[in-house]
Each structure stands twice: as C-alpha cells, then as structure tokens.
Symmetry: C2
Subunit: 340 residues, 2 copies
C-alpha cells in the first residue's frame, strides 16, 4: 500500500511542509468586519484601480502572492509550482495572475473548496520531494461572481434569507520543505456529494453533506476526535450549512458543536452587515486562513487546526438544465510549532 495513505481518503505527510508566509487582500466590506485587523490589505474601492471587477479580482490574486513573497524577501522564480483557481469561468483570475508571475502553474477548479484543494496538492508535492517551494492561492469577488452566477448588480435583485454574500478577497500561502511551521500534517480529500438541493440561493445546505462526509471520513481515517482540535473550521457554509453540518456529524457520533465554526460566519458581523446567511466565495476561507488563522497559529493561540474549505459545484447552465447542486469539501490538518 502507498506508504502515506492512512485510510480511504486521508494521507499523513512524512515531511510536513511549513507554511512560511501568507498574505490576504480584502474588499471594503470585509474590511469593516470583525477580522479587519488581521488582513494585510483592505481595498478602498473594489475595482482596485482596474476597469472591470474581473481584472480587479485577478490583480488581488496576483498581489496576494506577491505580498506573501515580499514578506519573506523571496522572488517568484524561487517558487516551483503555483496551485490556484477561482470561481470565474475558465479561472481567468488565476490564469492571468499566473501569466504575470511566470511560475509553473497548475490551474484548479474546486469552487469554494479551492483554498484547501490548493493547499492539499501543494503540500503533497512539497512533502514528496517534487518542490522546494510551492504557492497555494485563490480569490473571489462579490461583483464578478454576482453577475456571472446570478444577476447583473444593476438589477438590484432581492436576496432570500438563505443567500450568502460572496467574499471579495484573495489569500496566498507559501509552502516550504524547511521552516518553523505551522505545518500541514494530514490531508483528507473529499468526494462529490449531492443530496438533491436545487436552490442556488441555499448553497450552505447543498454543501453541508459534503462537509459532513469529509469530516467523518477524516475522523475515521486518522483516529482523531473533534476534541483533538483547538478549532475545526469550514469554508463558507454560512449559518444554514453550519447548523446542518453539526447535525449530520452528530448523527454519525461526532459532537463538533463546541469547537467548530465556519469562515463564512466569522468574516462578517451577520447582525449588522446585511449578508443574510453569511459569506461565500473561495476568497472567504482563503483570507480567513491567510489572515486570521495563520496569525493565531503563529502566536500559538491555535495549536491544531482543521481547515476544510467547501465548494458548491454548480454552474448557471447545470441549474438551468434542472441539475441539483453537488458539493465537495477538502480538509487539511495544520499544526503550530515543531513537527510532530
């Protein structure tokens, strides 16, 4: 058997890569939320000096990687691989960022699960001896996502209470063979799950079965319990999906109610910022991890984290053709301090 497999969907890394730098850039609304002090850059204008939201998103993506590199005084040429993706059709945000950076590029699409998809692949490639350094990144933008997936913003369409607000932001992480941590130690890769939800304004419910499936599989494969972690955090399930995930995990014998939350619930002040069920978008778990969680891991306030970004794999075409919304979730264990 493959020597790093420790269960059906989980691998344990033998030389856990160190996350040696991260950077986060967010939009104005995210910069008014409760995590504002953790972000590296808060934009005053979500066009970021560009003439379209799509170009602004790509610029955030590129600048997040550049900032993460600048912090450690590293040039893009040192990075062996860039793993990145985003929500835009043909992932133009990431591809155009990769064009400027000239780093060998693996383009990904995992919808809002992309941050842990990119961290998973980057970690295995560094752990396996294929790279000294790898970058993992993703981005999303409220305005580019709304007009692609839903309606032109100019229409002013009303949003139902289960709707989530796409995060404007990009996060980038640099992984290295050597370093002082935090370290990626375990990776549980998700399967596509579909419980038949067809409402594109209720993506939390569509993603919850995938989140619960990956979580249960992670505990079974590793032998970890919910209490093994200081914090378990999903990507962008929002209030509806978070509650469903707690219930689904509980039905399978895992009580995560005490130390589990969701990036989409934490990034905004839900009572004041009018985002209904919380945030969504691949940028959500990207900036919450690269901003808030990474810094708390560095300080030692979090010692062991399970980060699980969650994606809804729909397209406007699949919805128009009557398909339900499949979901996927990928989980990575991140430990502060010395390698265990």
């Amino acid at each position: 058997m493959a020597d790093k497999k420790i269960g059906k969907q989980t691998v344990k890394l033998s030389n856990p890569p160190s996350i040696i730098s991260t950077a986060s850039i967010v939009g104005p609304k995210e910069g008014e939320g409760p995590l504002k002090d953790y972000f590296d850059v808060i934009l005053n204008d979500d066009l970021f000096g560009e003439d379209s939201w799509e170009k602004a998103e790509s610029k955030m993506n590129r600048e997040a990687i550049r900032q993460a590199l600048t912090k450690i005084n590293m040039k893009p040429e040192k990075i062996d691989y860039l793993f990145g993706g985003d929500l835009l059709n043909q992932i133009i945000s990431s591809s155009f960022a990769a064009r400027e950076l000239k780093i060998p590029f693996f383009g990904l699409y995992g919808a809002c699960s992309t941050m842990t998809e990119s961290l998973s692949l980057a970690a295995m490639i560094v752990d396996g001896g294929y790279a000294d350094y790898a970058a993992a990144t993703t981005s999303s933008h409220f305005s580019s996502a709304e007009r692609q997936f839903r309606f032109p913003l100019e229409l002013g369409s009303q949003r139902p209470p289960t709707a989530q607000w796409t995060t404007t932001g990009s996060g980038a992480a640099i992984l290295a063979r050597d370093g002082d941590g935090p370290f990626i130690t375990h990776i549980t890769t998700g399967r596509v799950m579909d419980f038949g939800i067809k409402d594109a304004n209720n993506m939390g419910a569509a993603m919850a079965p995938a989140a619960a499936d990956t979580l249960i599989r992670h505990f079974e494969d590793t032998g970890f319990k919910p209490s093994s972690y200081d914090l378990i955090i999903s990507g962008d399930l929002g209030t509806v999906g978070k509650q469903l995930t707690i219930e689904l995990a509980s039905k399978n014998g895992y009580d995560i109610s005490r130390n589990y939350t969701d990036c989409g619930v934490e990034i905004f002040d839900l009572a004041k910022q009018d985002v209904h069920a919380g945030a969504s978008g691949c940028g959500c778990s990207a900036v919450v991890f690269c901003g808030y969680l990474y810094k708390e891991l560095q300080k030692g306030n979090i010692k062991k984290l399970l980060l699980m970004s969650t994606g809804a794999l729909l397209s406007p075409t699949s919805t128009a053709q009557g398909e339900s919304i499949p979901g996927i979730a990928h989980a990575v264990t991140i430990e502060a301090g010395r390698r265990s």
Copy 2:
C-alpha cells in the same frame, strides 16, 4: 534541494507509475477520422442519449473512466484520487462525473492542457506514495464548447481558416504503483505565456509560445534531445500552431521537424473533414493518447513519447474586456516496457 527536481520545471519520478488501462470515447465525426480503429467507443449521436450536450459530455467523461476500470476488472472504490477537468464553465462535465463515481476528486482547469495536467498530478501523487491508484481524465464536446465560447450552433456562423474544431470525446487513464507500463518517467510543468494574440479563432498561434517554452525547458532540464524521442506530440495546436512551434523550437536550436506532430492535426483528415486548421478541445489529446498512442506504446511501436497537451486560457469575458490569450503547455515523458 527537492530530490526529484532535475531542473527549473522538470521532475524525474523515482518509482515511475504504470498506466495500467485507458479508455476513449469519441463523437461521430472523430469516428470517421484516420484514428477511428483505435477508439473504444464511437457515438452515433453526440447527445449520447441525454437531453443536452453538456449532459452528454459529462456522460462521456464518466463512461470513459468506467470503461478504463472495466477493462482491468477494477471498481471505482479502488481508485484513491480522480484528477479531471474540462472546458465547461465550473467544469460541470467532470464534477458531475465525479459525483456518480464517488472517488475523491481534485478538479482541474487547464483548458486544453488538462490531459497532461491530470497525468502530471496523478503521476506525482502515485510516485510519491500518496495513492496506489489514480485516474486522470478530461473531456470536450464540439456542441457544448461552440455555444459557450463562440456562437449558438443554430446561427450557422462562418469559421475563418485558422479556426479549429473542438473534439467531441473523453479519455481516461488509470495509473498504478505497480504494472508493466507504459510508465510516466518525467514531468515538465508549463508557465503561462502570452505573445499578445487576441483572435479567439487563432488559438494555435496563441498556444504555440507556451508549447515552445515548455519544450525547450524540457530539453534543457532533462538533457534529452528531440531525437531521444520516437514521437513528440502536442495537444491541439492545429496546423498553424504546429508550424509556429517548429519554428520557435528551431530558433532555440532544437530541430523537432522530423518526429513531431500534433494531436489536432492527426485526429481528422484535414483535407476531407472540413475542420480548417485541425482539432482543438481537451478531449483531443485525451482520446489521441488514450486511444492511439497508448496502444502503440503497448505494442512497442513507440518506445519513448513526449506528450504535451496545450491550453488557451481565455474566456469570452476576458476577450470581451480586451485581454489577449495566454497559453500553457504541460509535458510528460511516457516510456514503454520496463522501468529505466
């Protein structure tokens, strides 16, 4: 230094994975071309019994994986990871296929470079001891691509001579730690290159600089020469891009004119099948490899192959916003017979 790196963009695998099975499914037009005897399934109708081209494409994707597994009497549960992507927005073809198969799934987007992107990642993950078995796949469909990227087919728009014809087809390959080959031995991962081409009907020219860049980097990193290979084959550059790639390689001191061709040139009879500059689409290199080349490697008629799928990373939105078309190319060395 990472022990498997042998140059800036290339890794040499230490336990080269064996490609133990492949399958290919193509549309009616591909089934009339010169490679028709190599494909496992030729559809009579490009709807494949479904009510939309998108659903037909997803079914091809799923069935190609199932056929590749059936040939070796293996169940989907044995596969540790599925690496796949396609051209459709939010890669719905691959995601919906992964939903049926329930294999842990890494969604990719590399446009028409996806077949070698999926082979590259699957090979590293198997070589590195993270998986016993991995599947690599991609698909494209003429009719779903035309209406997404260009015009509704019902318009009957004219196509300029540089235009290419999106392949209807899907190919899947199963990689294993053990087996009798053919083996993936080297991987050169591409950078995003952009020479400023803005004509979405001339993608061969847009992709050629990326193809030449990866090719030159591959020769420099490995020390191989063009003559080290029985065959060097790119993904879907067509006649225009193929000629440009020969010229760009020649300017850099590499004469590939004797043993180089392009999957997009080989899959159709260009004189008779009215496809202008040849084929495109991620399905093109997928079915040419999983159909034709794999069988020739098994027979020993090809002993050493460089397969380099090539992608144009545009979207209708990026084109509408005045962006040029970036390209990318990923190359994998595939050797018949015993591990070297």
